[in-house]
């Protein structure tokens, strides 16, 4: 029995060793070496000396934050309203459906929509606002990224709100809480897990939307994700690319540690 169990585990363990642990070690190794495979700290020195990398780092997190925040603001009401609808399954299906359309196709559509003669500018022209240059700006990048992430935020929040016992909301209303109070002290805390998983599902992927910066954001290197892609695929300086990757990983671990500690503290408070 025990042997059989071990046998079933082998592919999974192999996966952990080969595709989880080994790649991390390899990317670390590359970041600490130069092209002739000798140990060096040169890459890190360059990263922290060169202002553009630090600026890019701040930029990446700022954009990821903006995208996540905008998505949350748009998605939370949608998820809440969704729980009130009659044909929930159908609505849900309609919201999930666009996520099945290839991301690149959607990004491509926005090249047309946001262009100087595109849909948005035609609409603006109705109000006498001349052609605004939207495509190839940072705004376009954030807008399209938000568009793409909306369904991924709605789903977890919807699931979290749906699990809330409606009696709790009714009790809060019966006890004289205003709508805002009900939201602030009942709905929001109880739907927090959904919001958290939504935020997690969006913040980190937003760091690697290099194809959007290439197609919509005007081909500039503005985030760490784009920089990694540039160093690996264009400049072929894998060592520097790996260094940026390691910095990104370290930053993410720090962010995760901070958020999880906060969550723990909250629990103790209760």
């Amino acid at each position: 029995m025990k042997n059989k169990k071990m046998f079933f585990m082998i592919p999974y363990l192999l996966w952990i060793i080969l595709f989880v642990i080994l790649p991390i070690l390899l990317i670390l190794w590359y970041s600490f070496t130069d092209s002739s495979n000798t140990f060096t700290l040169k890459n890190y020195v360059e990263f922290f000396r060169n202002g553009t990398f630090l600026k890019m780092m701040l930029n990446s997190f700022w954009y990821a934050f903006l995208i996540t925040f905008l998505t949350l603001i748009i998605s939370y009401p949608a998820a809440y309203f969704l729980t009130k609808m009659k044909n929930q399954q159908l609505w849900l299906l309609l919201i999930i459906l666009p996520t099945w359309i290839n991301l690149l196709l959607k990004a491509y559509a926005f090249i047309g929509i946001l262009g100087n003669d595109g849909l948005v500018n035609k609409f603006l022209r109705l109000f006498g606002i001349g052609p605004v240059n939207i495509l190839f700006t940072d705004f376009a990048f954030i807008f399209v990224a938000t568009y793409i992430e909306i369904p991924f935020m709605i789903l977890p929040i919807f699931n979290a709100i749906k699990e809330i016992n409606p009696a709790v909301i009714q009790a809060s209303e019966d006890l004289g809480a205003s709508k805002w109070q009900t939201f602030r002290y009942v709905l929001w805390p109880l739907s927090r897990p959904g919001v958290e998983s939504g935020v997690q599902a969006i913040f980190i992927p937003s760091l690697s939307l290099f194809m959007l910066t290439r197609l919509i954001g005007g081909n500039r290197v503005i985030t760490l994700g784009t920089a990694i892609e540039e160093y690996f695929m264009t400049t072929m300086n894998w060592n520097m690319g790996a260094t940026i990757g390691v910095v990104l990983i370290v930053l993410m671990v720090i962010v995760m540690l901070i958020t999880s500690r906060k969550a723990r503290r909250k629990k103790v408070d209760l």
């Binding site: 952990i16 080994l22 990317i27 666009p98 690149l104 929509i113």
Partner: protein
């Protein structure tokens, strides 16, 4: 109350319009005889004609689907056994460590996964082709399968297994007749998620694909970088219809299954 419903409906409709405008924008212009997505010239099916004569693109389309099916199937099998293994771990610390390692790929940005896999394949001397892309897709789909299946196992009433054992079931019977049916919904959603991950992936594939193999995402990216090409619009219509078909099938299967399950539950209650 009715008023609130109206607001809800308007807001949701607004969201839906927002979500669908780009897709229908693409479809609309796929019928235009013009060269760009600004002005609809007149109706034509010419772009569809070029699309269906584009053997390279059609081959890529089929390969992408084959890749998604293969990778999600393999990932589901490995991931399900992984979840069972994690659930069976006695030591809490072992369980935590394994889960943490499991989630590494879930929380890593795609570019990091892509870049590190690229280093990995080059270091091991594995050529960049269909094989490397398939391995990568399996690799990044496994953790989501584990995460979908594990809660099902944890929620499972362990007395079911004891009962089966007491009634004389051997290990294989416990596994195939008790454990698997109970966690089947988790396995299904894992498979479904893996399929979506694979079809939707661009970044990782972009890193680990060589010259010989390309998925739809990578192909669309390289074409879109060269500017607007209404053949891509025609392709998006086809893909939209394909997705509709898939969702229709999925919907049909799940509702049918749901009904059946309810039946069984009801039967159980009556007994």
């Amino acid at each position: 109350m009715r008023n609130r419903h109206l607001v809800a409906r308007i807001y949701l409709t607004f969201i839906l319009i927002l979500l669908y405008v780009p897709i229908f924008y693409l479809i609309y212009f796929s019928f235009s005889s013009g060269k760009n997505m600004n002005k609809f010239e007149h109706f034509t099916l010419a772009h569809y004609q070029t699309l269906f004569q584009d053997n390279r693109l059609l081959a890529i389309f089929l390969e992408t689907i084959l890749l998604a099916l293969l990778s999600s199937l393999i990932a589901t099998i490995i991931g399900t056994f992984g979840a069972i293994a994690i659930a069976a771990m006695k030591k809490e610390s072992n369980k935590k460590t394994t889960l943490a390692l499991n989630n590494v790929l879930m929380v890593s940005p795609d570019v990091i996964i892509g870049a590190s896999f690229l280093i990995f394949f080059t270091a091991l001397g594995i050529g960049l082709n269909f094989g490397s892309v398939l391995l990568s897709h399996i690799a990044f789909s496994i953790p989501i399968v584990v995460l979908m299946v594990l809660p099902r196992i944890n929620e499972m009433d362990m007395s079911l297994i004891d009962a089966a054992r007491d009634l004389g079931a051997n290990s294989w019977q416990v596994f195939s007749d008790v454990l698997i049916p109970v966690i089947m919904p988790g396995i299904f959603s894992g498979l479904f998620m893996a399929l979506t991950y694979s079809l939707d992936d661009f970044a990782v594939t972009f890193f680990v694909t060589g010259n010989g193999f390309s998925t739809l995402s990578v192909e669309i990216y390289s074409r879109a970088r060269q500017g607007i090409d209404l053949e891509i619009n025609a392709l998006s219509t086809v893909m939209f219809l394909f997705v509709l078909l898939l969702v229709g099938i999925y919907y049909f299967i799940t509702t049918k299954k749901g009904r059946k399950k309810n039946h069984r539950v009801m039967g159980g209650w009556v007994k």
